[in-house]
Amino acid sequence: MSRLAETIQASSLFQLTAARFRLFMREPEAIFWVFIFPIILAVGLGIAFRNRPADVLPVAATTPQLTQALAADKGLRADTMDEAAGTHALATGAIQLLAIQSPQGVDYKYDDTNPDARIARLLADRAVQAAAGRRDPVSAQNRLIHETGARYIDFVIPGLLGMNLMGSAIWSLGFAIVEARQKKLLKRMVASPMPRWQYLASYLLSRLIMLVVELVVFLGFARIAFGVPFRGSLVELALLCLITSLAFSALGLLIASRAKTMEAASGLMNLAMLPMWILSGVFFSASRFPNIIQPIVRALPLTAAIDALRGNMLQGMTLPQLGVPVMTLLAWLVIPFFVALRIFRWR
């Protein structure tokens, strides 16, 4: 048994992976970005989008009577101000809507591209009409639900997870490889009998060890602090994270395959990641983008990863149901990896 352990310890793949792992653990900044930052982000978003009683929207009216009518609605907070002050308040976002008394009735001044303002318009008009004596022909009652899984935090946690898997894979591979090339260490390594594939494999292996820690810490936190649901199979979730991490590792490898300086590498990394931060639906649904760019959005690996993670965690979808995003991710794993192997600059 100890002989086997010794053999494994003496193997170059073990030593390379151990070296990578040690280097990572001895880099405090890396620990911060990989483990601490996503939690801080999740906490921040959790606080910003915590489940409050439905928003009370600030509005204003030009006459006290109108203000009183508006204030009767629980969803509105109304002030009285003249038209000039009200217009200024609208422009600065202090109020969502200004109700102006006019000879014919009431004018509503608001921005119809702002969802809150449109809600304010509906509530305000309802309040004004009710104050004027309108009676609804159909009686309606509300039944409110606050189900976990439908909250913003539930939506954003898989997004953050995907983003974190992307960032940690691309950064940790990209920078480490380019640094080794710049310091001529890569050249020294290939001057030794080290099998080249093991060098690249050691990056993936150490990434996988880190991935386990990352997943347990981040998802554990999301579960305990926010009660985020895990509706799908945990094994499949782990598998999805594994594929995601490998796909982004392959992309990181591709980015680092030729770059000679850290500046060039970091430029390329940002170039690769920026469109995904924006388009891939980390913070809001990617389907909001116009149809014409949807094929591009859907083809991005982060979109596929986040779709798959949300499908598993929020909708309890199984792997076969997630065929499209999973295949997209596998394509992103295989193609960049082999291109990177072909064009990799060892010195």
Partner: protein, 325 residues
Amino acid sequence: MIQPLSESPTTAPHATAPALLLRGLRKTFGDVVAVDGLDLEVASGECFGLLGPNGAGKTTTIEICEGLTPPDAGTVQLLGLGWNHHANELRQRIGIQLQETQFPEKLTVEEVLRLFRSFFRRGIAADEAIRMAQLDEKRKARVGTLSGGQKQRLAMATALVGDPELLFLDEPTTGLDPQARRHLWDLVDELKKSGRTVILTTHYMDEAERLCDRVAIMDHGRIIALGTPQQLIASVGGDHIVELAVSGDFGRPLDPRLLTAIPGVQSHRVDAGIHQLSVTSLHTTVPQIFAAIDALGLELTEFRTHSATLEDVFVALTGRNLRDE
């Protein structure tokens, strides 16, 4: 281009095969001819030095030998084997120290050596390499905390862990202080004693004289002189170098013929007002130099002698000082 040599069919070490054999080696980078038709043979067990100024093509040559740079033309054989067919075997049997490798700063000396040891099928224990490189006290120290000399010895240790038959050391002491250099020289001595072939590049002539059995002086991608340090120094034509400067010749340059006419003066050159003479025996020639200058009514402002070195060989061959470039 010279016909490729047939590669030895057996991979066993060949008693008669030279440790290194280069034929018609050529390499250009764009317009620059880095190596210009090099032939070289290094015997097993030899400590061989490639000397020359920066840019002479030493590093390109050694990197071609190490299988890191493919030559444009010519053949390379190490231990009777070629890179095309026996790269894996060769990597196992040679040790390499490159110029300016920076090992990961946050790994310890021991970790770096265990890592490199793991690449070799056979070799010495990492501990043994640490002892040979005299890094025992730094075993647990991180690479980032090592001095320049210690880093260089670590680089040597990574070349040693595979117990190589043939070692390539590229500028092993460049940038080191005198004590660190002597430390490294002792290590190379130890390697020579254990029967390994060592091929090193340097632009320090004293280093080559101290360490090498034979040296090749390179300039502009060619070997311009080859032999033992003693042979090369003897080729300058004198064992000693006299350097002198005179004043009082009223702007008229001192006629070199007056100096070369003195018996025992082998050669003469002027560099920045300093006359350099190579001289076979100081005790008979120097009084005559003094007498000649005296007879001309000139005054000696500078006078010194030293034993001829490889530096003087390079100057004699190229008319330039080694450190000019």
